[in-house]
Structures are given as C-alpha cells and as structure tokens.
C-alpha cells in the first residue's frame, strides 16, 4: 500500500465516515454463560445484604398501633355509630391506654391512620383551589372547589371538599399523670407552609353551612400556620394512609403506659373506615415496613437460584454454538 493510499484510508476512518457507514466503535455485550452467571450472582450478592440491612432498620423501629374507632363509641351507640358521631350533643371523649413494650427514643411520631378513605378520588382531589389558598379571597376563579365554593353567597376560604372534610379528632397524651409534651409544629412540608398557603390568608366563612364536614379553623390564624390543614390537604396516595399529628419529644420506657385522651369527632363510620392512632419511632429508612427488606431478600435469592439452575443446565447440556439444530427454521424438521 502506498503512502497516499494510507492517507486516504486514514481520512476514511474519520468519525463522520464511520457514522455514515454505521461502523462507529461500539460496545457489544453478549450474554455468554459466564456473564449470565456473574450477573445473577452479583445481583444476589448485592440484594441479600441490602435486604438484610433494610430489614434490620425496619425492625429497629418501635411502633404502637391502636385502633380506636370501634371502642370509642359507647356501648349504647354501637348499633348506629353514624348517628352517634353526627350528634353534637353527645360528648366524644374517650381514653385509650397504650402500653410501651419496647424502649422508644424521642422523637416519637404521632400519626392518625384512616382506612378505606378515598382521598385520591378524582372528585375529591380536584375540589380545591391552590390559588385561593395562596391569595385568599382576592382570588375568584374557584369553580374547581365545587361543591364547597360558596356559602350564603360568600366565598369560603379555604374552599373545596378537601378542606371541608378536615380531620378533627384530637389527642392528648398523659404518662404517669403528667402530660407528655407534643410538638405540633413543623409537621407539614416546609414548601407547603411557605409557598402554597398564604401567610395573610385567614379562614373565612369556613364550616358555616348547614352541613358541617370536619374540623373548624381558627379564623385568626393564617392558613400558613394551620399545619393540621396543610397536612390534611396533602392528598394521600392510597385509601389507607397515615398523617402526621405531632411529635412526642420525650423518650418512652418499656412498660410505660401512655393514656390517650381523645375526641372522637371524625365520622368514618358511615363508610366503615377504621381510625387508628400510631406512635412510631423512625430509623434512617423511615418507619416500620418489612416489605422492602423482604422483597430485596426475595429478589436476591431468586437470582442466586437462577444462577444455580442456569449453571446446572449449562453443565448438563454442553453443546457447541455452531449447532444450528434449534434455529426456528430447522426445528420444524425435527418435530416432523
């Protein structure tokens, strides 16, 4: 080959030429048995430890769950719980005794948990006005808040079904006759408080209608400080959900008994939803949920088993790759 030839060849090798001729340098991984086994083993070796670690984190969380909706209704009203909860004249207080079975380190998070409550129903989700929450009565395009938009021809602030159905059970915690301090600040997302709920927007004409949904709001506190409302208005993902109520900032010892005085105001009886009170510590991973860890272990061990099966089959059926007997157009002849 002469010099000019070589030069021409080199020019041909330029990136663009390779691009147009579809001969760009490429990585072409092939699933050879070695790779397959390696990948399976690798996945297994990563997933099982990760699973065990997360499982441990989940197990380290101490959680007390107490369902109170059924037992907080006096015996006499148990047949018609709905009318009990709707009747304002009947006192709704109720006491629950929670026994701490394991040391709980502060902060202990208090959640209320509702079941069978479709906060993610389309009608419910859409029935709010983010603009109004931010700008208050100045904002008029609140048609999305139907059917809770006006009352007596006055706009409702905050409007919409979500706000109207605000959860209004309250909890008081007493340990050994002393009230546990519950911090109810900073339970909502910071961005919500700062940017979604107006600092100068005050509740107006709220729960003044004939039909009263859930909790009422103090009209003197701006929406951005109404953290219960803010938490409630963060729509839950699934029909069974927990929402943050507050934090106990004291440790709880084993065998401590916490007495909960609660007001059982909120109606879940008409749709037979459960109400639960949850006290939980947290780990680096969050709350108590073994599922993730188990899933990791399951996937990890599956891939180990697959690696094993593959390896056995591979050794059992040794066969050169030149064999074309299984090519689809050859297979038919075998079966004939």
């Amino acid at each position: 080959m002469t010099d000019t030839d070589q030069e021409r060849d080199r020019n041909k090798e330029t990136a663009f030429y390779k691009f147009t001729q579809q001969t760009l340098p490429a990585c072409k991984p092939v699933l050879t048995p070695a790779w397959v086994i390696t990948i399976f083993l690798f996945t297994g070796c990563i997933f099982i430890p990760v699973g065990l670690v997360t499982l441990r984190a989940s197990r380290s969380v101490v959680e007390i769950v107490d369902r109170y909706d059924a037992e907080c209704v006096p015996e006499s009203f148990r047949i018609d719980k709905v009318s009990y909860v709707q009747d304002d004249s009947i006192p709704k207080n109720c006491s629950r005794f929670l026994k701490v079975h394991k040391y709980m380190k502060a902060p202990i998070y208090i959640y209320y948990q509702l079941d069978n409550y479709y906060q993610n129903h389309r009608r419910y989700v859409k029935s709010r006005s983010d603009q109004q929450l931010l700008h208050g009565r100045k904002y008029h395009g609140t048609s999305s808040c139907q059917p809770v938009e006006f009352n007596n021809d006055h706009a409702i602030v905050p409007c919409g079904l979500v706000a109207w159905s605000l959860f209004n059970d309250t909890f008081k915690f007493i340990r050994e006759r002393a009230e546990l301090k519950v911090n109810r600040k900073n339970i909502a997302w910071k961005s919500d408080r700062d940017h979604k709920f107006g600092k100068k927007v005050y509740p107006y004409n709220f729960q003044n209608g004939t039909l009263i949904g859930g909790g009422k709001l103090n009209p003197r506190i701006p929406l951005s400080d109404q953290e219960d409302l803010i938490v409630w208005m963060r729509i839950s993902a699934l029909p069974s959900f927990r929402k943050l109520y507050g934090r106990i900032e004291e440790d709880l010892d084993v065998d401590d008994v916490v007495v909960v005085h609660l007001m059982n105001n909120y109606n879940t009886y008409s749709f037979s939803g459960k109400k639960k009170l949850v006290l939980s510590t947290s780990s680096w991973l969050g709350g108590k949920n073994d599922f993730l860890g188990l899933a990791y272990v399951f996937v990890g061990s599956s891939s180990l088993i697959l690696a094993l099966v593959f390896m056995l089959l591979h050794l059992r059926y040794r066969r050169p790759y030149g064999d074309t007997i299984y090519l689809p157009w050859n297979r038919k002849s075998l079966s004939v």
Binding site: L24, F271, S303, L313
Partner: protein
C-alpha cells in the same frame, strides 16, 4: 425484449425509407374533430388574438406539489387524521376541555400538536423539494417568436402560451406538446429522444407536414397563420388526432407531427413548432399518476396490534367504569351518604349515585382518555422519522456506491425499508440487470473458421463448474493496453490490423464484414474529435458496426438512399470510399427473426445482405450456399453454449432482371397499402426474395455479466431467497446465463416446460388456433405434472435431495398462468430453487410477479432496469431499479435504485436485515413501554375507587412519549445492529429471520405485551408496598400522592429505558447518550418543573428536591423495582440464548468467543474473494443446514 425494441425502431425505419410516399391520411377519427372530446382550437402564432384568449387554456406553469401554500394546513391535517389513532387523540383532546377529562387540556393537546406538527413538517419539507423541482422546470428557457420584433426571444417555460411559436435547439427538452412545423433538415424531419416518456433509448423520427416544412426564416414565420383543431388533452401517448387549417386547406395531423413535453431533440440542430398543449394539459402530465402506494407487512400487522390495543383500552375502561358505577351506587343507601366527604348530595351527573349507570357511562369516556397511553401516540411519527433516517443511511452507504456511473444507492420511498429484510422471492430481469446490456463483439465464424481468442466470463464460469483447471484467466477488461473500444472485445491476430487479407477465404471475410457494415439501421455521428460514434437502437447492432469499423470497414455516412464506407482496397492496399446505394430495408421483427437490406454496390451488383437467427437463415440457404454450413453450425452451438448471442450472416446476388423489378413494384405497392394486413403482405414479399442465400458465417456477441453477479446470486441463494429470472431471451441463452451467474448450479436438475414439440408446431401451421390452444394447455399441464412427480420422487429418494431449476418459455407461461393451471404451476415453481422464464413479455413479467406474490403470500422483490420492467416493479412488494444505461423509467417506478446488481446483496442482507430487525424491535418495544405505563395507571385506579384520578401529574404523562422514552427508541430504530455488516454477509442464513418473520410474530409481540403488563405490576405493587403506609424519611414524613407518583414514574422511566438497554446489544455513544440521557432528563425535568411556582407545578412543586431526594427509601426502592422488572426479561434472554439461540445470538456468541473477526477490514474483505478456509467452513455449515432442512416451501403445498 430485444425483439420488441428492435421492432419499435423498425417502424420508424419503414417511414424513413418510404418518405416519398408518406402522406398522412385522414382516418375515421378526423371526422370527429370539432365534436365532444375533439374541441381544442389553437390559433398558431396568435396567442394574443381574441379568440385564443377567450378559450382560456391553461398556461405552461406546472406544479406537481401535493399542497399549495393555501391548502397546506387543512389538507395535511386531513391527511393526518385519516389515521385511526390520530383521530382518537383528536377526539380525546377535544373532550379534554370538558369535565370528563382526567387531565388538563393542554397536557393532552401539546403532545398531539408536537406529533402532528412533526409529521406535517416532514410532509412540508418533502413537498418543498418537489416545488423546487417544479420551479427549476418552470424557469427553464425557451426561444419564443416575437412578432413585433420578428425574432426569437428567450422566455421562461412557464410563460409559454398555447399558440406560441417556439424554436427548440439540439439536446433541449420540449417545453410543451408542440406541433412540428419545420426543422433544420430540409424535409422537415427531426429525431427525438423519448427516454423520459417510455424509457426507450432509441431515437424516434418525427416528420413535419410538407406544407410547413419550408418555414425556415423569421420573416416567413411572421406571415404564418394557421388554425389547429384537435383532440382535447388526454393521456394517450401513442395517438393524436387533429387537423391543420392553413391556406384555406385542411391537413390531417397525426402523432408524427407532435413533439411531446419531456422528450428531447436529438441529432437535429433546431426545430420550429407551435405550442398545442401546455402545462398540465400535456400528455406527459396527463399521464402522471401516483405510483401505487405500498405498505409493508409489518405496518399492516402493526395496524392489527393497534386494534388489539384499542380493544384492550375499551376493555380496561369498561372494567374501570363498571367498578366505578358500583362504587358510586353504593355511596347512597336510603338517606345516608356513605362517603360523606364526596358530598354526593350536591353532585354533578358524573358522580351521581342516584344515576350511577349514567355516571358509569361518562366515566367510560374518561377511562378511554385516561388509559389512552396504551395507544402510543408517537409511534407513527417515530417510525416515519426512523425510516427516513434509515433511508439516509442506505443512500450514504459507500459500499453501494457505483463509481463507474457515479450513482449511490437511493431509497426512493422510505416506507419499505424493513420489507427489504423479508424478501422471499426475487424476480429479476436479465438484460441490463444481470448483464450489462453492453454487447461486445467477441467471436465470429467466417467460412467455417472460428475467429476470436478471448474467453468470456461465461466460459470461465462454465469451465469452473466442470472443474477444469483454467489457464491464468485473462483480464478481459483491459485488452491490448488500453486501446479497448466499447462494444468490441475481439482479439485475433489473423483478422486484426488488416491481416485478414492473408487468410485463405479472404473474399468471404470481406463480404462478411461488408454485410456487418451495411446491413443495419444505425446512424453515424461525428464527434468533435473527429471520431465516429454510432447511434443504434440495440447494442447488438452497434457492436456489429463497431466490429466492422475496427476490422477496416468503416461506415461513416448514411443518408436516405445510400450508405458510405471506408474500406481497404485489396489491390492498392489503401483506404477508399465505397458508396452502396440503399434500395430497400426488409425490417427486423420477432416473427421474421432476420433483417436484410437490398443494395447496389459500386460495381453495380444488386445484393441482398442478410443477418438473422441461425434457424431462419439456414433454411433459406441456396444449395450452393451451404459450403460452410456444418462447421458454422458447430461454431454457433459452441458460442451459444458459452452464453453468446449468435446471428448467421448470409447474402445473395440478385439478378437485375424483370423478376426483381416485378418484385420491387409489388413491394412498393404493399408498403403504401394502408390496410391492416399490410404487414402480412410486406412480410410475404420479403419472404419471397430472402431465399437462396449464401452463408458467410456467424457472429457471436457477448452480453456481459455485470460485475459480481455470480457471487451475489450465490449469497442470495445461501440466504434461501428464491430467485426467478424473467427474460425476453431465448431458452438456450437464458440457460447459459443461468449457469454463468450460478443460478443454475452443477447437480441441479432441470425441469423444462416448452411448447416446441412437433405436434403443436404442426397444429400451429394449420392455423387452427383453438385446437392449438387446447393442445398447448394439455401439454403444459402434462409437463407440470411430470415435473411435480419428478420433484416428489427426488424428495423421497434423493440423498440429499437435489435442487431443481425450472425453465419455462413465454408461450408455455401463457398457458401455465391460465386459471386452471396456475396453482399447480406455482406449486411446482415453489419447489424449485431457481425459475427461469424465457421469452416473456413485460405483461407476463407483471403477471408472474402478481402470481408469485399472491400464491406465496410472502414478500417479493422485483429488480429491473428497463421500461419493460416497470409493470413488474410496481406489481412486486418492492421494486428495485438499476440505474444503468436503459434510461430512468425503471428507476422512476422503483422503490429503491442501485447502480449494480451486486449491491442487492448488501441492500438485502445488511440493510434489509438491519431495518427489519430495527423496526420490528422498535414497534414491540413501543408497545411494551406504553403498556407498562398505561397499566400502572390502571392499577392505581383500583386503589382510587376507579374514579379516574391519574397516578401522575399531568405533565409527567404528556412528556412520557415525547421526551423520556422517545429518543432511545429512535436510536434503536436507526442505529441498532445485531451483527456487523460483514457478519451479515458472511452468514446469509441470518436473513431468514426476516423471511420467517420471527422477530415480529404474534408470539413475540404478545410476549412483549405480557412483559409490559408484568413490569407494570412489579412497578406498582413494589412501589406502593415499599413507600406508602409508614414514614418514608427519617423525619417522620409520610409519602403522599405526589411522592408516590414521582417514585412510580421514576421507576417506569428507569425500567423502560433499562429494558431497552437490555434488549439491544449494540452500544455506541449515541445509544448511551440517549438511554442514560433520557433518564437524566427526567430528573432534570423534575427539578426544573418543581421549581416553578406551585400554581403551575401543582403536585410537582419541589417534590424531588424537598421530599424525594433526601429520602433513602426513594432511591433504594427505585433500585429494587428496576432490577425486579429487568429480571424476568434478563432470565428469559439468558436461557433462550444459551439453550434456544437464534441465528443472530449464535453469531454474536461466535464473535464474542473470537471465532469471528469483525472489525476491520470489512471493506477490504468484501472486495477480495473469501479466503479458502472461510469458504470451506461456511460451505460445511450450509451443507449441514441443508441436511436438516425443513423445507419451509413445503408448507405451501
């Protein structure tokens, strides 16, 4: 084919030599002038006169665009919404303004607008290109007569009006349909090249009326006034009816006086003419019809899949609305509202528990929109983009670039790319496709002595087949160090350089070459350098004249009465001029198979010089003219065995007596006779004089094979593509060429179906057409049966069964394609590896193509280069035109054009295979990703009491198809390759993946869909169970609707992109960029979108930055979900590749184990022959495959 071509030319020649008696005669049609259909009136040279203006004929402006600036928007929109899927999305977008919509209207509209906009932009660009071509044509210049200044002025084509007088110069195109008035020749003739109209390369002679042929100078034209009344614009290229009113007389006009737009003036300095039809009224524009639009198999199946998805959509929506209805109905029991927080007491119809069934119905509509993600909105536009890019790669491929003609491969339509990977039958033309159609005079036999020492490629191939050892193959192309002449490849020192005078029969040799130099219809033309080139219609003829010239009989002038030669004078040894008076031409026709001229030589001898098929000439020899018959016959046999085209050469001395004069008189009379049986009469008279010939010898012309044809066909055969050759040649030639290009191989058994049996010929002679037809049909049926049983026997006994080649001639084909036989015939043909149809007409070619297509119901590809292949190209699923010498007609009708036949190998095995694989994978993947996404929405619905609340933010969803998943798919569709080009060519069997459609069968499609459903289940359930319920961060916050949406969406984006990475195994930086870039884009999008004010970003506000990113659970869940979705596919692939590998898997593994070289040298290797080792190994493999072969063709029987 050659026959038809020659025939057409002979028509013009008959005119050439009977000019004296030429008079257009009024026909019956002329009586209709002025009536309906014949109402056009043209005032010649008076385009401004009142009458002409009142008629208001269209101008010469031509527009071939589909759209105009005004109608582009509505018309292209209309085109777009003819697609079912697009209509669905349009309706969905309209409904999205109603409260039914689960999403906000803009989030539905934007993707639709993007998609429709992209398609419209593509249409617009294509149309713009057409417009540029139009503009170029409309602004070409032509000289128009200006009466005021009495001179010709340049004008643009588009300004031409009916009635204008124009002057067209040599080699210019005619701007409109023009009536020829006069030309630079005194008698008003001109030559026209009609290649653009009918693809014929021969020149056609046009002739002006005698009364106008004297109009020569501008002054005379000033006074010229005439009126033409003629037919209305129509599409018939071969007829014209009109009259010229001039000087108070009427003259009938015929096609002879009409010069059609898009044809070219040749061999004539200039012509004058009157514009009759302009612009869209011209015949060529009237002829322009849209080529049949072809859709690919994959696209048709894709439509079915879209229907399946639509059904799924309806089913899923129905299930959703059913549950919704039930749930809603339960909301009221007596006076109590169950879910009081929904305020069912104060509700609209959409959620009204008292009208639950109606709510359910409305919810069904909502569902149709919500699950609309099952239908991939961007599928069509993505496929179109991908196909255009694929075509660009095909066009750019240097390995398919023909340096000789400077033509790259060209994908003329981009929507058939993947069909290239599924071709099961190739129907090929022979001349110009397999062979070059450049005839070379290589051998001759004169006076019983064979001359010509070269060895043809066919001979070499034949020798190789027989296993003979060849002497060093002579490089045929570069003979005698560069003095090679096109069309002449004759080497024999006994003849060349005037040595022939020393040969024993030098007088015969002299006569022989004189016949070659005079008995033809070529026209000489002097080039600027003084060389003489010949314009002949068939390349055979040119080869003869060139051969005569090279030997020393230079033909240099032809006029209507004489032919002049430069010859070597035997006595003086000098070149002298000899004039032969040309008296008559007895033209060539396929029936006569011969041509002769009657000339008077300078010695005043009257001679009849003849050339023709050996069979015809031999039976007409005089007793004393058979001196060399035996040897010549032997030579002819040997030549035709070598794939050469042979003609016998003979002459006769005529007596200048009364007998001849009598014959001449009768002949002249017959020629002017204007009845239907004129031809028969002329033939009969010609037959009477072409007798008692004296044989001189025979010629052998090589129809050169194109470069690389045998190797290419060999590869295609190894890819198990069936090849049919449809040719106009005779049986012997066709079989020889078949051997030469390895269509027929050694050890192949031939089944020949022919009607050349004595009984049928006898019947034919008797002229009993009905009986002949009946007997022929029976005979063909019998032969087909015999062939079938032969094949059956072979399959039973043969070890291994031999392959079969079927050879059938045109006449038998007519009967074989008869309704009663066609199935049996196709059955037999499908059992044969090679089928050669010889002597077939263009119509038969198209018919055969249609039959093959319908019987096999597999993809057919037709390849050809001439106008006679157009029917075949359009009929086949894919038409490939060879942009060779035979004009552009075939290329214009084709879907792909290539410069050489051998590029077909790369076009099919490499590009076809790639494109098929890419499109198939792409579509499967498209459905996968949309099903994955759509079904997560459905699962979420189940947890939102089917209320129609989408799981994700509106804008995440609209961006799904457009941003986060589209680019990798396009990269897959454009760049993916399972194996490199070199390996594609080395393992032609890989091609069967496309033919058998194993990458796009229903099992695979459903498999991908199942995978999609599986992925969605894994994503939804793993995510919800992992992150909801408990606190998902250390600070005790719980995951809400927004967080779940983001997490699930993250998993979907990761999963579908990683599935893509898993299912391809070809990563260049492009793939990496697109796949990982798409995932990165999602996070970037989330950050940007999340930082917008909360009123715009709603649930996405700071969701990544504030909520998800700080949560370990979010990341760890993503990892779990993504790996879990990949595991099923990965395991399947791992086991399938190891235990049920497909061909491409096998090759990939071979490559990865280093058994196959891949890089490299691909270029160099494809040019040099395979090394012996690789050839042996691939042969071994193919033999093994043959042993195991399950002949898929048997399925059809």
């Amino acid at each position: 084919m050659e026959m038809t071509r020659v025939r057409k030319r002979s028509i013009h020649l008959s005119k050439l030599y009977s000019l004296a008696c030429f008079r257009p005669t009024p026909t019956d049609e002329h009586a209709q002038i002025g009536q309906k259909g014949y109402s056009r009136v043209v005032y010649c040279n008076e385009p401004d006169c009142q009458e002409q203006i009142r008629l208001n004929y269209r101008g010469n402006y031509v527009s071939t665009t589909k759209y105009t600036a005004v109608n582009f928007i509505p018309k292209s929109l209309f085109e777009q919404f003819r697609r079912v899927a697009n209509i669905y999305f349009l309706v969905a977008a309209c409904v999205s303004f109603s409260p039914l919509a689960p999403y906000s209207a803009p989030s539905l509209l934007v993707p639709l607008i993007v998609v429709i906009g992209a398609t419209m932009a593509k249409e617009g660009v294509e149309d713009w290109r057409r417009r540029l071509q139009d503009v170029e044509a409309n602004n070409r210049k032509v000289e128009v007569y200006d009466k005021r200044s009495c001179s010709f002025r340049e004008s643009k084509w588009k300004n031409l009006r009916v009635g204008d007088l124009v002057k067209v110069h040599k080699d210019e195109y005619f701007p409109a349909d023009i009536l020829l008035l006069s030309s630079s020749y005194e008698d008003g003739v001109c030559y026209v090249d009609t290649m653009n109209l009918d693809g014929e390369t021969n020149l056609k002679l046009k002739h002006a009326l005698e009364v106008t042929s004297s109009l020569h100078d501008a002054e005379m034209l000033k006074e010229f006034r005439a009126v033409i009344k003629c037919e209305d614009p129509n599409e018939h290229l071969y007829s014209f009816v009109g009259t010229l009113h001039y000087d108070c007389q009427q003259y009938p006009l015929a096609l002879q006086q009409i010069l059609l737009r898009d044809s070219k003036l040749k061999n004539t300095d200039y012509i004058y003419g009157v514009v009759i039809f302009t612009g869209h009224d011209t015949k060529v524009m009237q002829n322009a019809t849209d080529p049949p639009s072809k859709r690919t198999r994959i696209e048709r199946r894709m439509d079915k899949i879209v229907y399946v998805l639509f059904s799924t959509l309806i089913l899923v929506s129905f299930i959703g609305s059913l549950f919704f209805g039930i749930e809603t109905k339960k909301d009221i029991s007596g006076a109590n509202y169950r879910r009081w927080y929904l305020r069912s007491d104060k509700t609209t119809v959409f959620y009204d528990p008292r009208r639950a069934s109606l709510s359910g119905f409305f919810h069904f509509l909502t569902g149709l929109m919500l699950y609309g993600y099952l239908i991939p909105i961007s599928l069509y536009v993505s496929i179109e983009i991908v196909k255009v890019l694929q075509s660009i790669f095909i066009n750019q491929d240097r390995a398919m670039y023909d340096e000789e003609t400077d033509r790259p491969a060209h994908a003329r339509t981009s929507n058939l790319n993947e069909e290239l990977g599924q071709v099961s039958t190739i129907l090929s033309d022979k001349t110009g496709t397999l062979t070059c159609n450049s005839m070379e005079f290589v051998k001759c036999s004169i006076a019983g002595t064979a001359y010509g020492r070269g060895m043809t490629e066919v001979e070499i191939a034949l020798a190789r087949k027989r296993g003979e050892r060849l002497p060093e193959p002579m490089p045929i192309d570069d003979v005698d160090s560069g003095t090679s002449v096109k069309g002449f490849n004759f080497r024999d020192e006994r003849i060349m350089n005037g040595q022939w005078v020393k040969e024993p029969h030098s007088d015969v040799i002299q006569k022989f070459f004189r016949v070659l130099a005079t008995c033809h219809t070529a026209v000489p033309e002097k080039t600027e350098s003084g060389e003489i080139v010949y314009e002949a219609e068939s390349p055979d003829e040119a080869a003869f004249v060139i051969a005569a010239k090279e030997v020393g009989f230079q033909f240099f002038v032809r006029n209507q009465t004489s032919i002049k030669l430069h010859e070597l004078d035997l006595v003086s040894g000098k070149s002298v001029e000899r004039v032969y008076k040309l008296l008559h031409v007895l033209e060539f026709s396929s029936a006569r198979k011969r041509m002769s001229v009657i000339v008077r030589n300078p010695e005043n001898q009257l001679l009849l010089l003849a050339k023709g098929a050996d069979s015809v000439i031999f039976e007409r020899l005089a007793k004393h003219g058979r001196a060399f018959e035996a040897q010549t016959k032997e030579h002819i046999d040997r030549y035709s065995e070598a794939g050469l085209r042979t003609l016998a050469i003979a002459y006769r001395e005529l007596d200048d007596d009364d007998e001849y004069r009598l014959w001449e008189e009768e002949f002249m009379k017959a020629k002017t006779y204007l009845t239907a049986d004129q031809d028969v009469l002329v033939d009969e008279l010609a037959d009477r004089i072409e007798r008692d010939l004296i044989l001189l010898g025979a010629t052998a012309v090589e129809d050169k094979l194109q470069k690389g044809v045998p190797d290419c066909i060999d590869k295609l055969a190894k890819a198990r593509i069936r090849i049919w050759v449809l040719t106009g040649d005779k049986k012997g030639t066709a079989i020889n060429i078949g051997y030469a290009c390895s269509l027929l191989r050694h050890g192949m058994k031939q089944i020949v179906i022919t009607l050349e049996s004595p009984e049928i010929e006898a019947l034919e002679k008797r002229g009993d057409k009905e009986a002949t037809a009946k007997a022929s049909l029976a005979s063909v049926a019998q032969q087909i049966c015999d062939g079938k049983s032969q094949v059956a026997r072979e399959l039973l006994t043969g070890e291994p069964p031999a392959e079969f080649g079927l050879i059938i001639d045109g006449k038998s084909l007519t009967f074989a394609l008869d309704k009663s036989l066609v199935n049996r015939f196709m059955d037999l043909a499908m059992d044969c590896a090679t089928v050669i149809c010889c002597r077939s007409s263009p119509k038969q070619k198209a018919l055969v193509t249609r039959q093959v297509k319908s019987v096999t119901s597999k993809t057919t590809l037709a390849i050809g280069d001439g106008a006679n292949d157009v029917g075949m190209l359009q009929e086949a699923d894919i038409g490939v035109g060879i942009s060779g010498v035979e004009g552009m007609q075939a290329v214009m009708a084709s879907d792909f054009s290539i410069g050489q036949f051998r590029f077909l190998e790369r076009l099919l095995l490499v590009h076809g295979h790639w494109c098929y694989r890419r499109i198939a994978m792409m579509i499967c993947y498209f459905f996968y990703k949309n099903i994955t996404f759509g079904f997560t929405l459905f699962w979420f619905e189940a947890y939102a009491s089917f209320s129609g609340q989408p799981a994700y933010n509106d804008w995440y969803m609209s961006c799904y198809n457009v941003f986060f998943t589209s680019l990798p798919v396009i990269a897959l569709g454009v760049f993916d390759q399972d194996v490199s080009a070199r390996l594609c060519l080395k393992h032609p069997l890989l091609y069967q993946e496309g033919v058998q459609d194993i990458l796009f069968n229903w099992l695979r499609i459903l498999g991908w869909m199942f995978n999609g459903v599986l992925s969605s289940i894994i994503i939804f359930f793993l995510t919800t169970n992992s992150i909801t319920g408990q606190a998902f961060r250390r600070d005790g916050q719980v995951a809400d609707y927004a967080v779940l949406g983001v997490t699930m969406y993250t998993c979907v984006v990761w999963a579908v992109n990683c599935q893509m990475a898993l299912s391809i195994n070809y990563f260049t930086w492009i793939q990496h960029l697109f796949i990982w870039g798409s995932i990165a884009l999602w996070y970037i999008f989330l950050m940007v979108y999340g930082s917008l004010p909360p009123t715009l970003s709603t649930t996405a506000y700071k969701v990544l930055v504030e909520a998800c990113a700080p949560s370990v659970l979010y990341w760890i869940t993503t990892l779990l979900v993504v790996i879990s979705t990949l595991l099923p596919l990965f395991s399947y692939r791992a086991f399938q590749i190891r235990f049920r590998p497909m061909e491409h898997d096998r090759i990939q593994i071979l490559r990865s184990e280093g058994l196959e070289q891949e890089h490299d040298t691909a270029q160099r290797l494809s040019e040099s022959p395979e090394s012996p080792e690789t050839r042996i190994s691939s042969d071994l493999i193919s033999i093994r495959i043959d042993n195991l072969r399950a002949s898929p063709r048997r399925k059809n029987s």
